[in-house]
């Protein structure tokens, strides 16, 4: 199974998520992660969808079908090497009185993770990185008892010098204020 990252640029209107996900559902493709945000251009949303597939051809067909949605401006499918990508994870870790203290130096320097909230009996640690880096940290911190763990979807930009404007030069773009 290969990981593919699909970036979908759409007009920002109600119901687009539903229009996109129904194409995955029809083809019985599971979405591994999904993030949506407005882009640098006003009224344009960007969906970053990660899927795993054995067939590049299936992904190509999927990309072309997503492109058919009227509100979709452009769709790009990437392999991991084509993109710079990251995720963010939050760990709520138990620190009861008398327990082994957290090694903050290792957490900061080795794992590039930061405590963002202190409580008497627990802390919340934020870790950014790839999926693998996050799970490395997960394994490291696990002995301290993880009370809650949440990972965001992937965000990704392509390494190509081209931007959306290069693909759709005819559009009159307005920068997001």
């Amino acid at each position: 199974m290969t990981s593919y990252t699909i970036c979908v640029f759409t007009e920002n209107s109600i119901g687009i998520l539903n229009k996109i996900t129904t194409i995955f559902t029809r083809r019985r493709i599971n979405i591994e992660s999904l993030t949506v945000s407005e882009t640098e251009r006003k009224g344009i949303s960007r969906f970053t969808i990660v899927i795993r597939s054995e067939s590049r051809e299936t992904v190509e067909k999927l990309v072309r079908q997503i492109r058919k949605i009227i509100e979709v401006l452009a769709v790009f499918g990437y392999l991991n090497e084509d993109i710079a990508y990251n995720e963010i994870a939050l760990f709520k870790v138990s620190t009861p009185i008398g327990a082994k203290p957290l090694d903050i130096e290792t957490i900061n320097k080795t794992y590039k993770a930061w405590v963002v909230y202190w409580h008497l009996t627990y802390v919340i640690i934020q870790k950014t990185g790839t999926e693998e880096e996050i799970f490395e940290f997960f394994d490291y911190i696990k002995p301290h008892e993880i009370l809650e763990f949440v990972r965001s979807g992937r965000v990704a930009v392509s390494k190509s010098p081209q931007t959306l404007v290069d693909y759709l030069p005819e559009a009159e773009w307005e920068y997001y204020q």
Binding site: K61, R64, R67, K68, I70, A171
Partner: protein, 586 residues
Amino acid sequence: MGFNENQTATIQGSEPAVSVAKPELINGSHAVIQSLIAEGVKTIFGYPGGAIMPVYDAIYDYQDQINHILVRHEQGAAHAAEGFARISGEVGVCLVTSGPGATNLVTGIADAIIDSTPMVCIIGQVASHLLGTDAFQETDVMGITIPITKWNYQVTNADEIPEIIAKAFYIAKSGRPGPVLIDITKDAQQKLMTKPFVHKKTEKLLSYHPRLAPKDEQLAAAAKLINQAKRPFLFVGHGVQISGAEQELIRFIEKTDIPAASTLLGLSSIPVDHPNYVGWLGMHGNYGTNVLTNQCDLIIAVGMRFDDRVTGDLSRYAKQAKVVHIEIDPAEIDKIVKADAPVVGDAKKALELLLPLVNENNHEAWKAEFKKYDAIEDEKITQPELAPTTEKIKMAEVIRTLSDKTKGEAVIVADVGQHQMMTARYYQFKKPSSFITSGGLGTMGYALPASFGAKVGAPDREVVAMIGDGCFQMTIQELGTIAQSGLPVKIIILNNNFLGMVRQWQQLFHQKRYSFVELQNPDFITIAKGFGIDGHTCAKREDLHASLDKMLASDKPYLLEVLVEKEENVFPMVPTGACVADIRLE
């Protein structure tokens, strides 16, 4: 509502209102109708109900400009709009209420998307403050129709209406056509617009730009393959009719001398007597076209999508051939069959631009190969079907007799099943845009409503619906619409008292275990007469000519029931999962 004095509103292109200091504001419902008029709509197929009542109140004032045809079930409205669109090339319009009105349209919308039929469905919705509360007759029509519409949109503000309707028509008709659904909340229909009504046609959209003219390099690559091919074979799809490419296609095949076969929805785009026409493709298509698909060296597919009913087993489909795929929808390229030379664009434009790039050629010997198979098919199937020695009338002879009597120039609307396949086989189409049927979805009950829709779209042409006794009972209530509108469609029921195609499969693949396929039918003629439609039954071969003459001579709607052989099978046949070359003759 009683908001009737709206004639001062400006429609683009109409006479400016004289001496109106302050333009009167109209409500959302009047905006809907005025926008439809501005888009050139003359006929609406619809059914009123609670959530669409404000629009129905508005139509009352425009009866001189818009003809509203009251169907008997919303599915009928959808198929009628499809029939209208398929024959005229214009957008078919449906108007229905929320909840069950909308869900009853769903089959027709699904039919329209798979057969690329332009349609705009305007649906009433509960008032916006009730959305999501399970209000009376509320259903999530947006959610339901996402996978079966080209575009859908919910309007909650009257001011949006002209722009959204303009966009809907542009999307439905351009590129690969399809159905668009506009869900309008009742309050948006009732409220006054806050600005003067202006309807401006949509000419382009930021996120949607269908390609008309193919890229030069794609055309050049296609032309190269065409010029090199020794045994090229052209497939005529529905895209030829949609883009109006019939003349370009004929010029193309005449210059290159390439044999051409048609898909189900491509039928009538080439006259059957054209010397390069070699027949029909697919499961019940001709012997030669299927067998030689696996012996050609190049397929030129024009506006078609390689449906599984055309390809049979894909792993043994035309593996020896290169493929030029001319198609307006990029998502169809490589979807089923890998294209060596994809040509993304409008079929008419593509053929026009290809013509100067291809060489004049002579494929006499290659074309003659089709004739050898034709002779076998003729002897084993066609002749016994057309001149049977058995007592009961056969479907094929009804269809061929009708074909002769109408000179192959009628509009034929076929329902779904054996009679549909027989119609495709035995009606000899001589005129473009003459065959309407539910191809992709295979919707039983399609033909009766589609036939009166087609009659609205082509009032000067003879429209004949070919329907089986099973299909007829799925939308039989539309006889009421035909009677009330007076549209003179001719209806032929080929009655074998069976769900014939399912019975055929049960005979061939389920050891004749006839599971729920025999019908106890009503007296169709009495039913028609109850609706005020004249008709009669033909039971004997010697009455067939006179029966068809009587039906065709009528200037009113007419129902002819023909009692046909009960257990007839459609052959040739490529059974599901078989290879096209293994087509069965018996």
